[in-house]
């Protein structure tokens, strides 16, 4: 018994009233057919040992010798699909590119005519018809330009049909333009070995710093060059940021990146790559960020959010030249073409500058916090946890129950920025009953001082939630967790030290963001970015 005979047996066994007709070829290695009918639902299945299954709900009036609508390599998939069609009356559809072309043919409209109606080029219509992931908006424009009206109906498993409305916004849409991926270019492949360690380090940094704004863990992505050629575009997948050869360019981005390479190949190329990595990192991490952080980043469009995140990360690295380069780069990657999924240059530049402004604001806050040590955490171990809870509750603390991983259940409360935690203490635990979490401007300075005075033994370093902590004991045996406010990277630490020395922060006018209002980016930044964009492009 071959696969299609098995299909016939199983389907008629599961649907005993289903009719089936097996059409056997003269050569058993040829194309077998089987036609099923169940209630008013028909489906034809073709099969050959070499090609697998093809499933089609027939509509005899305009068919002759066409291939199957849907193809399946696996028997189980084909069987399940056939059963579903027979039970629900679902219909098969040809691939989108075939359906769109046939739709246009039915309307008697050529690609050129349709291009004229849509205000795009004929090649864009051709690409549109070949796209498998057409948006609802693009589909609606396509249909409306053909004189039709788009309706989307959903058939429930029970057979109810529901019309979906309101999927398409009323604002004018834009046509697909085949916009290239964000890309950077170089003239030779000699830069890759040089910059790879730097960029790997950047990936480490952005993973670590963003962890503080993520509510869920995320495996650190790997940076991968798909080619040794420094002609690259960036893409992200589930756990990878890839630098890839770019096939197409807009004239603007080509000119921009060429100038970046020619003027200062190494440094600007690294910054361009950092922009792309940060941009793609947003796409990777987005769903794991806290609502608060996503809200601060803002923007309805994911590309703009990614640009804003790139600006934010640049500010958090205390980019010495401000947002100019990144803003210009964001603008160069924009697209004015209709229906391109990439936003226009001015929107991208604005998003980047806003993100930069957000980062600057946060950095300022951290810098000011890092000027002095502060008590972040106080852990008390209690032999009678419930009694202690009642005690501190009576003192007015709002204690909530927490449990981290495999650790014990405990209570936690925050008092003026300091977290107080009550942990259970085993009766045989002879150790300290107090644990302090102290944030210091620079752990290494503190550890050096403690070592010089011989006040503590060698510290142990632990990693938790993407942050480093150093564990030391005070002279009474109480445990201290030392940490820095945030890991900002070398440049940002220098800036933090600068903040310590000079609270007024001597920065150039174009990088200062008065008030650091996130919703109103500094107009000076905007103008400077626009000016740089003009120079470069």
């Amino acid at each position: 018994m071959n696969a299609i005979q098995k299909l016939q047996r199983e389907v008629t066994s599961l649907l005993p009233t289903a009719l089936s007709r097996l059409d056997v070829p003269r050569d058993p290695r040829g194309e077998w057919w089987i036609d099923f009918k169940y209630r008013d639902h028909n489906v034809s299945v073709q099969w050959s040992p070499e090609r697998g299954f093809g499933v089609t709900v027939p509509s005899p009036k305009d068919e002759f010798g066409e291939g199957a609508h849907e193809i399946f390599g696996e028997y189980v998939q084909a069987r399940n699909r056939v059963l579903k069609i027979l039970q629900t009356g679902e219909v098969t559809s040809p691939p989108p590119e075939v359906a769109l072309r046939e739709l246009r043919s039915l309307a008697g409209v050529t690609q050129s005519e349709l291009a004229q109606r849509l205000g795009i080029k004929q090649a864009a219509v051709s690409r549109l018809e070949r796209r498998a992931d057409l948006t609802v908006r693009s589909l609606e424009r396509f249909v409306v330009a053909l004189g039709g009206e788009l309706e989307i109906n959903v058939r429930t498993p029970e057979g109810h049909v529901v019309r979906l409305g309101g999927l398409v916004e009323s604002k004018p849409s834009r046509a697909h333009c085949g916009h290239p991926l964000p890309a950077v270019a170089g003239d030779n492949d000699s830069l890759v070995p040089q910059i790879k360690p730097q960029l790997d380090s950047f990936v480490d940094w952005i993973h670590e710093i963003s962890a503080q704004f993520r509510s869920t863990n995320f495996v650190k992505p790997q940076l991968r060059f798909r080619s040794q050629c420094v002609l690259a575009s960036a893409q992200s997948s589930t756990n990878e940021i890839a630098i890839d050869p770019a096939a197409t360019w807009t004239s603007v981005s080509k000119k921009f990146f060429r100038s970046a390479i020619v003027e200062n190949a190494h440094a600007r190329f690294v910054r361009a790559c950092e922009f792309l990595i940060a941009h793609e990192a947003w796409h990777l991490y987005e769903s794991s960020f806290t609502d608060e952080f996503r809200g601060a980043i803002g923007f309805a469009n994911s590309e703009l959010r990614a640009d804003a995140f790139a600006g934010w990360s640049s500010a958090m690295r205390a980019e010495p030249n401000g947002p100019l380069f990144g803003a210009a780069m964001a603008g160069a990657l924009g697209c004015h073409e209709l229906d391109c999924r990439y936003p226009p240059p001015e929107e991208r530049t604005l998003a980047y500058v806003r993100g930069f402004s957000l980062g600057e604001s946060l950095l300022e806050t951290w810098c000011s916090k890092s000027k002095s040590s502060s008590l972040q955490l106080l852990v008390l171990k209690s032999r009678d946890l419930e009694r202690s809870r009642k005690f501190y509750s009576a003192c007015g603390l709002e204690l909530r129950t927490e449990k981290h991983g495999k650790g014990p259940r405990h209570y936690s409360s925050e008092v003026n920025g300091t977290v107080l935690e009550l942990y259970p203490c085993p009766t045989n635990d002879a150790g300290s009953r107090v644990r302090l979490g102290l944030t210091v401007p620079c752990v290494s300075v503190v550890l050096d001082a403690l070592a010089q005075e011989k006040l503590t033994r060698s510290p142990a370093r632990i990693e938790r939630a993407g942050c480093s902590f150093w564990i030391v004991e005070d002279p009474d045996g109480n445990v201290l967790e030392l940490s820095e406010p945030i890991h900002l990277g070398a440049r940002a630490l220098r800036k933090a030290n600068q903040c310590k020395d000079d609270a007024t922060s001597q920065r150039s006018p174009e990088t200062r963001v008065p008030g650091s209002k996130l919703s109103e980016p500094n107009p000076t930044c905007w103008n400077s970015a626009a000016a740089q964009l003009g120079r470069c492009c």
């Binding site: 070829p25 040829g30 194309e31 305009d62 002759f64 066409e66 291939g67 609508h69 040809p94 046939e102």
Partner: protein, 118 residues
Amino acid sequence: MPTATKAERIATFFERLQDAPAQESAASALELLRQTLNAVEDELTDIPYNPEHWQTDGRLYPPRDDAARSVDGYPQITRYRSRAHNAYVAANGAIEIRDDNDNVVLVKPAANGEGVWT
């Protein structure tokens, strides 16, 4: 760019097949069927010819050899199954095409005037 629908192309195919000279053998009848449909598709669509496509690409393809079936009681006739149609080609060169409901949609006698079943 051509804009003919599938229904128009199938109608053109049947018309041209009907108007073509009658054939004297099964091989020449099958060749006529193939050449006629391929010519119609080349003229009226911009879909490239790729018979190896298992999934539809929107183009209509003539019967393949591996679609051949024997017809009980008629050893001189070969049936070619395709989506929604069956093409019967007889040894005398006659052609008959029926839809899935067994309605005859085209009858083309052989050069000797006989049909598929006579």
